[in-house]
Subunit: 323 residues, 2 copies
């Protein structure tokens, strides 16, 4: 029994570690870039960087890393035993037994693993925007789209713990190629990458001239530039936000059909534009859900913990598995 | 406690009622066309026809209908309390409180309700091709596509009991219009209707000449004609079966991504062609599933009870809710 746990959310670009109390209060926070050193054996760079981050955070609180339960959220097909079976966004650790590597580096047996978006779902369910809701999906809109499904009050894990890979649901057969090797995956349309593609297409067609002039080239227009311009009333930017919101709603409607969830919690980088995106998405959802009027209301809200959801949920995993 | 239950599967064209023993043995079977009388109030024609079918089946066994638990499987958004919230394939009962109407007609309080494909999933899980499997999806390929999801050993029902409407997952944004009002739903591509559309398209392009000559017009070529021709080695017919199998695999791959199920049980009319369809679908699935090689094997089998799965599962629902 420990009063605190460390939760780490390992993204494709950075890792966030939090010291979390049992009631969800965040007591400490450190962040570091995710290493992508391909000269080392798979997973070694990741495990060693995470070990240092954990030790550092523990030392800030006068604690030894090996004495604190640690939860690790990793992107991709994450097995409960710590093997990262497949991770297109973390190539240098894909297939590696990150769990064993990290246990050795930390000299700790108190390390527990879960998919990163599943962690976020658990945190929002326990403390945040999904509290008291039995059936909802956490949708993390970043470079890709991650998902964590709460069904009948519990995390839906599936056969191997790989459930919730909602970003790789194909919504456009023969569509845009995806990092996973597939084509037409939802995350190619409704994520930050989707917005980037819409920006490039719009620029090619001669739209977004004001943004283009400022940025120099279409590649240099960031999603945030478009959300900022949309917030200031730029019609062309609003049109792109509408498009990305339609794609978002399309995937959410699919999840309603399959899972009959009544609530979505939207997190990840793109959720910073949720004041713009969510009203459009709600509007489109009513068109896209089968039998919308015959169902109770479907709600969409922003994540309560924003970029911290994943790490908070990872700490929750540590608390749950080391009670 | 009853040793027998009646299970009814109400389809868009016919209703099948079975007298079922607790161990799954089918003791009696009757079938009747589903009425579509739109002159009566919504649900009345359905309820009255079902009541007669139930009474008749009970009388064949020397029993009174009001003394036997009855399970009813209906297509669409079926609430546990017997209200058929939305049913595009059973328009004259859509929105009706079939439960109350049927209880009155039967003078019985032992009538229980579930979505038809959910019933099929329950039957296959208890007695059939999903026995002992904790995570699988029952996929009924008929005119449309129905689904029943077994997750972690139990039926996934969702917030209102509407989960498993997998046929209305959009796989082709802006695609073919669907009876649900949407566009690009999976069931427009991978069902009997999907095959009919492929037949029409192929005929328009001058293919399927042998079948066309025999049938007279493209509209008169039935899906069974194509599966027969494919079974006899007709290359053009095999090509259509390959296409429909690809679409089937695409939707199955989406369900693997979202739910991490390792098994599919395929039922419904089109499953009669499963000797042709399933080998192709397995082949395509390995291309379409994200991280296929990093997962345990994914299996696809035919329903064990074929057209009887739904009614058997409806009887199981009756046993479970009237124990």
């Amino acid at each position: 029994m420990s009063d605190v746990a460390i939760g780490i959310d390992v993204g494709g670009t950075k890792a966030l570690a939090l010291m979390v109390a049992r009631d969800g209060r965040v007591l400490g926070e450190v962040q570091a870039p995710t290493p992508h050193d391909s000269k080392l054996a798979p997973g070694e760079a990741t495990a060693s960087a995470l070990a240092e981050l954990i030790k550092y955070l523990a030392s800030l609180h006068g604690l030894k890393a090996s004495e604190i339960p640690v939860g690790v959220g990793l992107p991709g097909l994450m097995r409960k035993d710590g093997r990262l079976a497949y991770a297109p966004n973390l190539q240098t650790a894909s297939g590696a037994d990150v769990g064993s590597l990290l246990s050795v580096a930390l000299q700790s047996s108190l390390v527990f693993y879960e998919n990163d978006a599943n962690c976020a779902a658990l945190a929002e369910h326990e403390w945040g925007a999904g509290r008291g809701i039995n059936d909802f999906v956490m949708v993390t809109l970043g470079t890709g789209i991650g998902g964590g499904i709460i069904a009948d009050g519990a995390l839906l894990r599936g056969r191997s713990g790989f459930a919730g890979e909602i970003g790789h649901m194909v919504v456009e057969a023969h569509g845009v190629p995806c990092t996973c090797g597939g084509m037409g995956c939802w995350e190619r349309y409704a994520s930050g990458s989707g917005l980037r593609r819409l920006i490039r297409d719009a620029a090619k067609e001669g739209r977004l001239s004001a943004l283009l002039e400022r940025a120099g080239s279409a590649e240099d227009i960031a999603p945030e530039d478009v959300t900022d311009a949309a917030a200031h009333g730029n019609d062309e930017a609003i049109d792109l936000i509408r498009q990305v919101s339609w794609w978002l709603a399309l995937g959410l409607a699919n999840l309603v059909a399959i899972l009959d969830v009544g609530h979505f919690v939207i997190g990840g980088g793109l959720s910073r534009a949720s004041d713009l995106v969510l009203p459009f998405a709600r509007e489109y959802l009513s068109d896209l859900v089968e039998g919308y009027d015959s169902r109770p209301e479907i709600t969409i809200t922003s994540s309560m913990f924003e970029h911290r959801s994943g790490a908070m949920g990872a700490a929750l995993v540590a608390f749950e598995r080391y009670p």
